[in-house]
Amino acid sequence: MPDTFLDSTELVLNMGPQHPSTHGVLRVILKLDGEKILGTDCVIGYLHRGVEKIAENRTYAQFNPYVDRMDYVASVSNGLGYCLAVEKLLNVEAPPRARAVRVILTELNRIASHLLWLGTHALDIGAITPVFYCFREREEALKIFEQYCGARLTTHAFRIGGLQYETYDGFERDVKAFCRMFPPKVDEYEELLTNNRIWEGRLKGVGVLTGDECKEYGVTGPVLRASGVKWDLRKAQPYSGYEQYDFEIPTRENGDTYDRYIVRMQEMRQSVRIMEQAVEAIPAGPILGKVGKVIKPPVGEAYVSIEAPKGELGYYVVSDGSTQPYRVRVRPPSYVNLQALDKMVRGALIADVVAVIGTLDIVLGEVDR
């Protein structure tokens, strides 16, 4: 036998861009020793549409629907962030009624986004059942969006200064019904997964990030909170009236994939809590603040960020005093979080890459913009 018989050589393997577990068109170049990962390089940009360039060539209102196409599973959050940024530049605030409805729809969207995450994440790990459960409840949330604005995914629900539409008859009833129906369903998912031995075995200790590492990489959202950092922009720098509502920030200590699962499950319950409080007391009144027909903010700039389902979503908007933004910069949580992938999978196995991409909850529409 030659000496090289049992030698291993490094292998470079392309995962994606067309791979079901990359949740879109993400290409990860893996450097492997056997099945062990020595390093990765993410190739992104396949979905790049030049959203920031488009913004400079549209009016403020015309650009509003485009933001829905970034994180298309949480389009309501995208719209909220953009509207808040332009409102900041205009120095107007949405009226109380609009703020309450915004909170309800945004939290509903957070649940829809987390449900899509849970279903596909479980599917990646090999559990087929949860995705059907999740999509069943997600459908109920999307029905409310559809009733409200006619669209299920790219909703364009908000308008600069307030809401696009008045709520429909029965909106409160539907939201309350959802809030009643949903928590037992979360129990169902947890029954399927939380103490499932295969689930635990695949997730525990995988893709660990400490709190300090999260800060170094700028990682935010549930990933940060699962690493023991109690930080949520809805509490840290409240916007849109979040300070009125009583809710908790779920955190966990281990920073592994399992803890991120637990944090997101608890976040869905907290979202229901917020919705219940908001829907009980939707103030009466106008739905649109004092915003002119032609939106023309004074010369200036503003950076506004919100807690999107995936982390901090920031908009940096620069106005030169004309009807079109001079510059719109989007700080997408998925883009920044994805950067930590390399750190999380080094030394792990290929199957763990699938789990880690799932747990980062990236949306490539937002990564590439």
Partner: protein, 216 residues
């Protein structure tokens, strides 16, 4: 588009025309006024942001530490920012991280002002978890100036700087892996520069890689 241009277009010339017509009429109407021919203040809105000075312990500390490196500490719409000289931006970041707990680099981006000598605004957004405070650090750099990379302090700067390079062509000195990130690696041109038209493409790249005449 044409509809939106109209209100702006008709507004801009109208104030000078209105004021140009008024002064001759005014002396006749009220001759008592002492200085009728005095030209009215220019109707143009100020082209700069109406920011106010930002004064706090932190602003003073930064100024004291960096002296001439700090051009201004201002606040606009309740958001504080520091304007620095190009070479001071990263040292300020460093100082804020090590001595003032600004441990989270939120974003790095740029804005192109092609008519200005220092063409780009380079903008850093930092946040402090302990103080829940957000600051922007802004600096004006000329085309071709290579700012120092921030990767040594904040790992997250890696991709953020790559994107700024990709979109604006700003090279960061000392960056470990300065490649394009969203555009194809051999793409020519920097899309977010103002002189890059919205319909403009790297035609050669499109023809070679997509096998079509034009992407339009």
């Amino acid at each position: 588009m044409a509809d939106e241009q109209k209100p702006g277009g008709s507004e801009a010339p109208s104030p000078p025309a209105g004021e140009g017509a008024k002064p001759p009429a005014k002396p006749a109407a009220d001759a008592a006024k002492p200085a009728p021919p005095k030209p009215p203040p220019p109707p143009k809105p100020p082209a700069t942001m109406a920011a106010t000075p930002w004064d706090s312990d932190l602003a003073r500390a930064v100024k004291e530490r960096f002296g001439d490196g700090i051009l201004a500490t201002s606040t606009y719409l309740g958001q504080d920012f520091v304007v620095t000289r190009p070479e001071s931006a990263v040292p300020v970041l460093e100082y804020l991280k090590l001595d003032a707990d600004f441990d989270y680099l939120v974003d790095i981006t740029a804005v192109d002002w092609p008519k200005r000598a220092e063409r780009f605004d380079l903008v850093y957004v930092v946040y402090s978890f302990p103080h829940s405070q957000r600051i922007r650090i802004k600096t004006q750099i000329a085309d071709g100036f290579e700012p120092r990379t921030a990767v040594g302090m904040h790992l997250t700067a890696n991709w953020l700087e790559r994107e700024v390079f990709d979109m604006f062509g700003i090279r960061f000195a000392g960056h470990p892996d300065l490649r394009r990130i969203l555009m194809p690696e051999d793409w020519q041109g920097y899309p977010l520069r103002k002189d890059y038209g919205i319909l403009q493409q790297d035609v050669r790249w499109v023809q070679e890689n997509l096998g079509i005449e034009s992407g339009q």
